[in-house]
Amino acid sequence: MTTAAPREPSEGVGTGTRRQLAGFSRTLRDNGFRVGLAETRDALSILSSPVAVRPSALKPALRALFCATRSDWERFDEIFDAYWKGRGMRRVRTLSGTPTESRISLRRLAEAGKQQESTGLPDHAERRGGSGGDHPAAGRHRREGASRAESLETADLRHIVDPVDVARVHALAARLARTMRARLVRREQVRKRGRRIDLRRTIHRSVSHGGTPVDLAWRRRKIKPLRLVVLLDASGSMSLYTAFFVRFLHGVVDAFQEAEAFVFHTRLAHVSASLRDRDVARAVDRLSLMAQGIGGGTRIGESLATFNRWHVRRTVNSRTAIMIVSDGYDTGEAAQLATEMRRLRRHCRRIIWLNPLIGWRDYSPQARGMQAALPYIDLFAPAHNLESLAALEPYLARI
């Protein structure tokens, strides 16, 4: 075994360097790296080691130390160069809405209904030529929907803006999440009764009976949480519902230990990280901004392809339920959607498709995309008001 590494970092490192290193740690932290005291201390010992004399070796050394994920890994060089080569960049990550701004717009969200002419509010108005009747009016409609009068008129989710109702939605999402949480996996634990004998314990107990296993110990499966992945359609045709489902999404990610959330319109965005923000309002706000469509309609098939390609292996396993929230209006190829749905079906336990339009009178799933996807869906359910979501509960508990 090698001798212990020189753990006394103070030698050979001047105060100037120390201060610079502290600054660098701070810069990394600002950019979302998880840098603790231990890392900084280890960085000091690297700086006092022979590696430090050669900058070309210093960068990879610090990279190996400070990075913890692939995204850290990919951004590190840029931050390193910016800091040590003095281009003076502080924040690399660009997220929509800085904290201060969003807090302001957030209060507006909470008070939604008083004045709506604000810049901070996400505007989901997005024009989609052709499909769907009331889309051109969508943006205007939503703003009006924020008015108190209309929210009293109907319980459809399109119009939930009242803080009390919003709170109800959150509570419901959390309750749904709880019922879904407990699931069976292969990991076993010792029980009085079970499927298999726990030999270790049985033998331990048999000693007092002279080796005769009188008192059996059993193992049985332990309950493990179900994993939930939600894919939310944030396209123009869904814009009336997006704001609500973003809140629902937050409730789900909050209550589940293992939940992942994605938002898609013409492309797919992974939003779990933004949703884990402790500040509920800020998270919802930030996500609403992300969910804003950029025009050009919905590409469900393509978004699913992206999901299948890049995210399935990490986020989906045999005890994962996938919940797609979309109206099924797909401007892409229906055939592609079918292919991707088939692929997705192979990986997960259940696919649940929530379609707000089912709640509308006389709706039948005629959209080509919806037709293509139907064969692969385990549960096709409405999601236009709180009651319809609550009706899902017994099903989800049985998954």
């Binding site: 075994m1 090698t2 190996a64």
Partner: protein, 298 residues
Amino acid sequence: MGENFVNVTREHISDRLAEVGYVADRDLATALWLMEFLKRPLLLEGEAGVGKTEVAKALAAVHKAELIRLQCYEGLDQNAALYEWNYQRQLLAIKAREGAGENADAIEEHIFSEKYLLERPLLAAIRRPTPPVLLVDEVDRADEEFEAFLLELLSDFQVSIPELGTIKAISIPRVVLTSNGTRELSDALRRRCLYHYIDFPDVDREARIILTRLPGIDTTLALQVARMVGAIRKEDLRKVPGVAETLDWTATLAGLDVHELQHEPERVHETMICLLKTHEDRARLTREVTDRLLGKVA
């Protein structure tokens, strides 16, 4: 032992890795040096087939240390990872000693002694007189409970066995963890480890890998193969071929007496089954695509 990485530059490490058949890039050499210097485990991530497991094997060869491997899977528990009692022998011993009229306490003491303990990889790794290399392969497949337990072991290097007491590490193993990203690892584990992301090797390095692993190959072919594989990886494939596939393919081509890829496009296309492992990918890389790629590579 004379192997002290701290006084060794990373070039030496690269060289030594090359001696044992692993062609490392310079950054990986730095990470391996750092692992030694800071005594931290190394977490390797990357696509399947980029040679994560090979790093641990090479590291063991470099240090002339034993490689102890723990393959993780869903449901892996301490019985399989740490220790287990030898039940059959315990049962026999109970019977035999009862026959001899020993009392229960004495029997219990006896059957829960070292003699009846079966070492599993993690226990084995901390009880070797010389530090081994411990490879925790695909740690993302194990569940969170196991990860937490592993974290504890990696920081204290001691385990407690209820019947036997606490066992302290005799030597601290060099730990390499690999992950394929089927599950997000916990922040705590990530922070405990040094991190290195292994990408597919570039053309130059892949050619060197081919030459190192298959000494009979001529340099031109190795370079052509590396370029071709590089081009194929850029295609939209379901399963991107890894380094092992490249080596298989090169060996196949050499076995078929191919010296210049462009001269025998037919053979090249036929042998592509070494690289493409799904029906879809096979269908996607038609003869025309192969020819187009060959044209670019030439």
